[in-house]
Each structure stands twice: as C-alpha cells, then as structure tokens.
Symmetry: C2
Subunit: 239 residues, 2 copies
C-alpha cells in the first residue's frame, strides 16, 4: 500500500480463494476502498473452530467482517454485503429497489450453493451434473437475463447486485472458462454486464491480483475436482 | 374478514404449509396487518413453471410477494422479509443492527436448508441425521443462544430477527415436538423467546389457524417422511 493510502476500516476473514468472499471484497475494490484481508487457511479454520462464546460474532462459517475501530463483527455474506454496501453507497435509496438487489444477491447465493453442492455435502454425480448444466444453470441464467431486461440490475448508479453478478458469473467464467459459452448463450446481457462492471480499473486490478494469488482455484477440495471432472467429460462427449 | 378490517396490500404465494412462508406471514400476523395468501398447490406449481418472461418477477421457487396496488413482485424470502419489515417497522434504524438482524435471518435460513436437505436434494441417511442431531443442531442452537446473550435478538422493540426465530424454532417444535427437548437443552433462552413472541395474541391466533389448516405438516414429501423416520428411530434407540 502506498503511504498516502487511507487505512482500512474493515477486516474480511475468508478462506484463501475468491468464491463467496469476493461478493464482499469486490465491493471494496469497485469503490477503491481499502480492505484488510485475512486468508490464511489455518487462521480461518481456527476462527471457525473457536468456541461460540469466544468468537468475534457467533458464526458457523466464514466470511466474517470485523470493523476495526469498534471491534464489532458480522457473519453471513448477504448480511455483510448489505452492511458495507450502505457505507460504500451501493444500495438504492428506495426500499423496494434495495430489496430487489437483495433478491438478486440471494439468487446468486443459490447458484453458488448449487454449484458447490451445498458447501460440499456431496460430490457431483454425472446425472445430477447433466441436469444442472442442461436445465438448472440455463434456467438460472434466464432469470438473471430477465432481471436485467426488466432493469433490476445493469443501471446507473451501480448497486451491490450488479457487483454480485460479477462475483458469481465473472469469477465462475474466469475459474471455469468452459462455462463461458453457457453464459453467452443463455444470458448475453449478463455476460456483457460482467465485462462492463469488471472493467472498472480498480476492480479489474483486484481480480488480476486474485488470479495471481489463486490461479483458477474455484471452491476448492473434492467438489472442485468433481466439477472439473464433469467439465472434462462434457468436452470429451461433445467432440 | 370483518367488514371493518383494512384491505390487504400484499399477496403472498407459497406452498400449502408454513415452512419457509411463515418467515413472512408471521411478520404480518405479529403486527395484525392483513395479508392475502395464495396457497393452492396447483396454482403455486403453475406460477413456478410459468415462463420466466411471463412471471410477475423472474424466480426459481416460492415464496413470492406481490404488492397489489402496484403489481410489483419480489421473490427470495430474505429479500421479502427485508422489504415488508421496513413497512411493518420491524427493522432497527441503525445500519449495523439491521445487518445483524439479516445475519440472524440467514442463520435461520441455513438451518432450514440443512433440515430439508437443501430443498430435498436427498433424503436423510442415518449417519448424516445422527451427525445433525448430535452436533450440527446443538452447534446452531448455541450460536442462536449466544446471539441472544449478546443482545442481537430478544430486545425491545421486536425485530424481524426475533420473529424469524419463532418461524424457525417455534414452527419446528410445533410440527416436530420430539425436537423441543433439544432446543430446551442447548438454547433455553431461545425456547423462552419463542414462547414470549409466539404468545402475542394476533400471532398466536395465526399459528393456531395454520395448525388447523395443516396439522403438523413440516416441509412435506419424502424429506419430511425421512425426518419423521429418523425421529422415530431416535426415540426407539433411547428407550
């Protein structure tokens, strides 16, 4: 950090990969507001295993955001996004439009949960993956595309819902490029939105730094291995 | 409805059981504000299967809330709760406290997802259920109890997070009474909070009307059957 950069006001604790954490870190990067990141695997695992009474906020899993000045902490990605988006001026003023942004964020969270098999409760089996890629994913993409068509996302000023789209589909296409044609086909406007928002220089620089740190690491572990095995089989079958 | 009752401003569309819908309907009942409910199974199923372009809001699954005057609609339970809670004055003014309520709501939603096996992606297997009842559920309960101890819930004025606790654990204990001792043991304060909030006459009357309409129906289908089979086996094994 340059000596003139402001001090970060928040610390984000999350596993050493973008996945769910980037829904939060991209907000800061978009606004060029500094964020302290704690991403050491052993440290995050220790936080998670700390007795509930001793945790900064009682929580089941990361991300956790800590406000450095007050030592107050929050868990649950959508709650953290809601909180920091107010500070970063990424929430519409009108109550209905703000709720619609939360709806889009929850849709993103649902897709994330589906692709990582509900935080890894089971690996992908072939018949389930085929159903996901042929039906569920295009169905979800059509929901996002229609949300764009109706103007729930993609407007000026940019909202946390727009950045959530980049955190979900931008990061997905970067880490699992085999899925980019799926997005282009079912949701060309969403593909364009990812490019447009992701081109903001401060966000683009942050995404590059994540690519340098983590490569194409997606959700990690056995689940990621099973996603990659499925994608490989898909590409063999279409040759 | 009596001729003097105000006209409902919203319609809630959800399956004919309380489960995820009651996180919304309990807010209205608590405030004694009328809510139009659409719960016919065939109608809800038809909404869900409607082409995305023709849906009132592009969505994957219910609940859906429609504002009758404007015909605007929202999906995603946490987004709907956020929106109607502002109107019903169940959101703290301060941004951090409002986000903490959202954190508690998301915790509730996670428990709901675990117990219904992520909207029914698989039935309960014995080893997974034993792990859930012995470890995950008490762990979750300790998180909620600690949230109460720290004053994130259980205060005056009541918030949507307090009512979410009743929607999750009050409804769970009513439908699956075998689990009430689990709640009393791991989270006595949460048990008390459920009784206190649930005793508000207008909410108590609404819960009674749901009990008359649906009996102890919980999440329905094969998943509910597998929960009940597990609970039965638990009780045989402890005799």
């Amino acid at each position: 950090m340059s000596p003139s950069a402001p001090e970060p006001k928040y610390q984000l604790s999350y596993w050493p990969l973008p996945f769910r954490g980037c829904f939060i870190s991209y907000l800061f990067a978009y606004r060029d507001v500094p964020l302290l990141e704690q991403t050491d695997f052993a440290e995050i695992d220790a936080l998670r295993r700390t007795r509930v009474k001793d945790q900064s906020v009682p929580f089941m899993g990361p991300p956790v955001l800590r406000e450095l000045a007050t030592d107050r902490a929050l868990s649950q990605m959508p709650a953290i996004v809601l909180y920091v988006s107010r500070e970063l001026e990424l929430v519409p003023d009108a109550s209905f439009e703000a709720a619609m942004c939360m709806k889009v964020l929850m849709d993103c969270n649902d897709v994330l949960m589906e692709i990582c098999r509900y935080n890894g409760s089971s690996v992908w089996r072939r018949n389930e993956w085929v159903e996901f890629r042929r039906k569920r994913l295009p169905h979800w993409l059509s929901i996002f595309e229609e949300s764009l068509t109706r103007g729930f996302i993609g407007n000026e000023p940019v909202t946390f819902a727009d950045i959530a789209i980049v955190a979900l589909f931008g990061n997905m296409m970067r880490c699992l490029p085999e899925l980019e044609p799926d997005v282009i086909t079912a949701a060309p406007g969403i593909h364009q939105l990812c490019s447009r928002i992701g081109a903001k220089p401060t966000l683009a620089a942050f995404i590059n730094s994540e690519a340098e740190r983590y490569g194409k690491l997606y959700c990690g572990g056995q689940i990621e291995a099973s996603i990659r095995a499925m994608l490989e089989q898909d590409s063999r079958e279409t040759q």
